[in-house]
Symmetry: C2
Subunit: 148 residues, 2 copies
């Protein structure tokens, strides 16, 4: 396994920890971390129910927190790891932030941006899909199975 | 002029006041208000520079504030008035919020959602474009003229 792949798995595990925290609160289990120069500068998980706020997706909070940490609004030197493919809203935010690299776990056939608005990201953003895909997807599937 | 048109102009003037407040702070002049049963329940203007946060668009803040005011995350009984056509990110947020009605002033050919992701809103959201269009557009054009 290449060095970058190992790092990607390592950081996706941190995003999965965040997703588990969301799950423990009864939230749709999506977690994210932002990494800059191999250091985590922001961690977040979905809080839409607790905050009663549709904008409180893990990625949105992670973008805000990462910009705060860096003291600037552009994240072109950063990688966002998120357990689920971002939605239209989040992809739009990542586009404005000019994110350097997006790594996500599970695909979201229903709400994922790639189907609806594939050009939402900045043209320079590198995208890697499917890192720890099964683990990320199982969390979501189990959550909705219990809900029914 | 119909009653609804008069109301739409009235509330768009309130959104324009917000846009002017953004302008006075050196922000891209976009303003928004959320109206529920003919009462303004949220007001916001773009603060992306001040907060160094790409997610701080007028609409995003308005959605969060309106949900807070209502005590629930769905805005299906609300109208959002915004001086500029929402971007992909904001349209995605309005979709999640199941907004009842969207009224905007100027179109945004470059970044507006209608060109890129016309289905981002909830299927039931009514859309009215072009209310006080010229006044809304002039604010933006003047801002960018001064920037150059």
């Amino acid at each position: 396994m290449q060095e970058q792949e190992k790092l990607d798995e390592l950081f996706m595990r941190k995003a999965l920890e965040q997703a588990q925290m969301a799950c423990d609160k009864g939230e749709v289990p999506v977690g994210a971390v932002v990494v800059c120069r191999e250091r985590i500068i922001a961690r977040a998980h979905n809080l839409t129910e607790l905050l009663r706020d549709v904008t409180a997706h893990a990625e949105m909070q992670a973008v805000t927190a990462a910009a705060d940490s860096l003291g600037g609004k552009y994240l072109d030197s950063c990688t966002l790891y998120v357990t689920l493919e971002p939605c239209t809203m989040c992809a739009g935010a990542l586009g404005w932030a000019q994110l350097g690299r997006l790594v996500y776990g599970a695909s979201d056939e229903k709400r994922g941006f790639r189907k609806y608005v594939p050009d939402a990201l900045h043209p320079k953003t590198e995208v890697v899909a499917g890192v720890l895909e099964d683990e990320c997807a199982v969390l979501i599937k189990d959550f909705f199975k219990k809900k029914r």
